[in-house]
């Protein structure tokens, strides 16, 4: 078993399984930074997984397919923003409504588009390619891990960096964070909080859409019913555990990838019943959440001199 765990393949699996969660975690954190819990990530990912297949088969191009999917993701983010900000809908209930619509809507749309029930078996979609970068490939071990990863995995790593710079080094990032910290204070210095939250939710939707596209056009090469499988929810937990920062979220996503990869290896070696291993990521988050919040609470108490 140890041999399997220490192989570059194993680390590659971690990255592969972490990719969709990482995208969704970044999506959760930008929404959270603007002060909104985006629980609709699950539904947006599911919709995007389907639209990824439809658009890439329609345009015969993974790139165009991804672009269109990301636009749809942003659009769903905007719809969520419209209901939450304009119509004053409870953000959790609005998200639940979007998730429900996604569960039914994807099956219905797939049936209408191709006549397939639940699995897009008759659609010829185009998956995002795996790429190897010549120089990095030569680095021992690390090169083996990174080479041949999907282009979207690379993109997700890049997105961590871009999101970090965006949130902490640009004026718009500052606006987003200040609206999330204190809406009224931000308004008082002339920030249009509604506009800022709209932008944050649109970006959040677009990021989740990349995660969704990866599910059906990278991780797998077709759409199956309910394929987001709770990753949007995991992302909320991961983001929260990572303090809603892109870098923190990145490490927690890797933890999820690790648990998934471990589950794969242990399933083969049968040390434990696999149902127990499948529990590991959720149990890890649950404990992680408790520990993280507890330490935050203690820190606050210390600072306030209690």
């Amino acid at each position: 078993m140890w041999k399997a765990i220490l192989s570059p393949d194993f680390f590659g699996t971690i990255l592969r399984s972490a990719t969709p969660i990482l995208f969704a975690t970044l999506a959760a954190s930008i929404a959270a930074k603007s002060g909104i819990t985006n629980m609709a990530l699950e539904g947006i990912m599911l919709f995007s997984a389907l639209f990824g297949v439809i658009f890439s088969s329609f345009t015969h191009s993974a790139g165009l397919g991804l672009l269109l999917t990301v636009i749809v993701g942003g659009l769903i983010g905007a719809i969520l923003a419209f209901f939450v900000l304009n119509l004053k809908t409870d953000e959790i209930l609005a998200a639940i409504a979007i998730n429900l619509t996604a569960t039914g809507g994807t099956v219905l749309l797939l049936l209408a588009y191709s006549g397939d029930r639940g699995v897009s078996s008759s659609v010829r979609s185009v998956s995002a390619p795996n790429i190897t970068i010549p120089l990095i490939e030569k680095i021992p071990f690390i090169g083996q891990i990174l080479s041949g990863q999907n282009v979207l995995t690379w993109l997700s790593l890049l997105a961590v960096l871009v999101m970090h710079l965006f949130l902490y080094k640009t004026p718009l990032g500052l606006s987003i964070r200040s609206v999330g910290e204190n809406k009224d204070a931000a308004e008082s210095v002339g920030i249009n909080s509604r506009k800022v939250q709209y932008i944050a939710l649109i970006i959040s939707g677009a990021l989740a859409a990349m995660g969704g596209f990866y599910l059906s056009g990278g991780y797998m090469n077709m759409f199956t019913k309910d394929m987001s499988g709770g990753r949007g929810f995991i992302a909320l937990a991961a983001s929260s555990m990572g303090g809603n920062t892109p870098v923190g979220g990145f490490f927690v996503s890797l933890l999820f990838g690790l648990a998934q990869a471990l589950a794969n290896v242990m399933q083969l070696t049968a040390v434990m019943p696999y149902e127990i291993i499948l529990m590991v990521p959720y149990l890890t988050t649950l404990i992680g959440l408790g520990v993280y919040y507890y330490s935050q609470k203690k820190k606050k108490e210390r600072l306030s001199g209690k």
Binding site: T37, M39, F83, N86, L87, K88, T89, D90, I92, L93, A94, I96, A97, I98, N99, L100, T101, T103, G104, G105, V107, L108, L111, A112, R117, G230, F233, I234, L236, A237, S240, P273, E275, I276, L278, M279, Y282, L283, T285, L286, L289, G290, V291, Y292, Y293, Y294, Q296, K297
Partner: protein, 354 residues
């Protein structure tokens, strides 16, 4: 107040109608026999005794989880573990029902265990929130998956019948709930469900602790300063809500629908409960009506899916739209404003006259 209530009812009805209208448009777009499909959707459940029975029978789990979520949400705790509580409730009830065959005692024991396990289950996110301030919504989402995989583990390793695939040993006849009407599967659970809804109403709206709970839900700070123990309120509401959801899982398991425990995925009643809770405005008394509506819609949809080319999933879209419109506070707000202004003017006139 009267006008505001009437407005709420009107808005709910209007939301439902708009959602149905949108669904009809979708049916017209995707189906080659749209009129047939809509006919089956709307009147299908009334066409036979068995279909009507199906409506009643599918109301039962919805009333349970709906009431449970009403109690949990009334304290403003967005605890989404009702889904998992239902699952473990069904699991434990089947464990008991497989091993006990005493008449009357066996179902009561199974249901009691289901309730207790459900209560403990939903209390976990609540206890985490109290001790560590971890967000109950996120932790409850995670814990649902633990319930699912634990159920799968039990099914495959402990209660699984080696002769059946992905099913437990048979539940004993003595522990099943009796059928009420011949020719249907409507069972004793409907009586328990309605009793639970009424008790839930009495608890939330007619007792001191229920009042404290709702006050905490409305304004936690205010409740704190009025001397209400928030910790107590959170714990009681989550324990009770989980008990009801777990009980619902148990009742569903002991119903004539199942002979063995076969749940290998989450059934979604916890999410449905949120629709029920939204439609009934967090009042358990209205949950049977909301459940009737949803059950009717679903039974109609499954008849439609069997007879025509429209899939069952269209209902999920209808449900999504209904939630969005019902909870969109600004939807029809201008009309509401007018109504309130009219009422105020009338009150002023009366005052002048007096």
């Amino acid at each position: 107040m009267n006008n505001a209530k009437r407005f709420n009812a009107l808005r709910t009805v209007l939301s439902v109608l708009i959602a149905l209208a949108i669904s009809f448009v979708i049916i017209f777009m995707v189906s080659e026999q749209p009129v047939e499909a809509i006919k089956y959707l709307l009147v299908g459940p009334l066409t036979s005794k068995r279909n009507m029975g199906n409506v009643i029978e599918s109301m039962i789990p919805l009333i349970f989880t709906g009431t449970g979520v009403c109690i949990m949400f009334s304290a403003n705790q967005i605890n989404l573990s009702g889904e998992g509580a239902f699952h473990v409730g069904g699991l434990i009830a089947s464990c008991v029902a497989i091993n006990m065959s005493a008449r009357v005692v066996s179902p009561i024991a199974a249901l009691f265990c289901a309730g207790i396990v459900g209560a403990v289950f939903t209390a976990i996110p609540a206890v985490m929130k109290i001790t560590t301030t971890a967000d109950e919504m996120v932790s409850s989402l995670m814990i649902n998956y633990l319930a699912l995989y634990f159920g799968n583990y039990m099914l495959n390793n402990v209660i699984g019948d080696p002769k059946a695939s992905a099913a437990s040993y048979k539940l004993t006849e003595a522990s099943k709930l009796p059928v009420l009407f011949d020719g249907t599967r409507v069972h004793f659970g409907i009586i328990i469900a309605i009793a639970v809804a009424i008790l839930g109403y009495i608890f939330l709206y007619r007792t001191k602790i229920g009042y404290e709970l709702r006050l905490t839900g409305e304004n936690e700070e205010f409740a704190k300063y009025s001397g209400i123990s928030i910790v107590k309120v959170i714990l009681i509401s989550q324990l009770l809500g989980g008990f009801v959801a777990g009980l619902g899982g148990g009742v569903e398991m002991l119903s004539p629908i199942y002979a063995r425990f076969t749940w290998t995925s989450l059934l979604g009643y916890g999410w449905d409960a949120i629709i029920i809770c939204t439609l009934s405005k967090k009042n358990p008394l209205y949950t049977p009506f909301a459940a009737l509506f949803l059950a009717y819609l679903r039974t109609g949809a499954s008849i439609m899916a069997r007879r025509t080319d429209v899939t069952l999933e269209i209902v999920q879209i209808t449900q999504g739209i209904i939630i969005l419109l019902v909870v969109a506070e600004q939807f029809l707000s201008r009309y509401k404003h007018k109504l309130i202004a009219k009422e105020a003017k009338a009150a002023l006139k009366e005052e002048e006259a007096a």
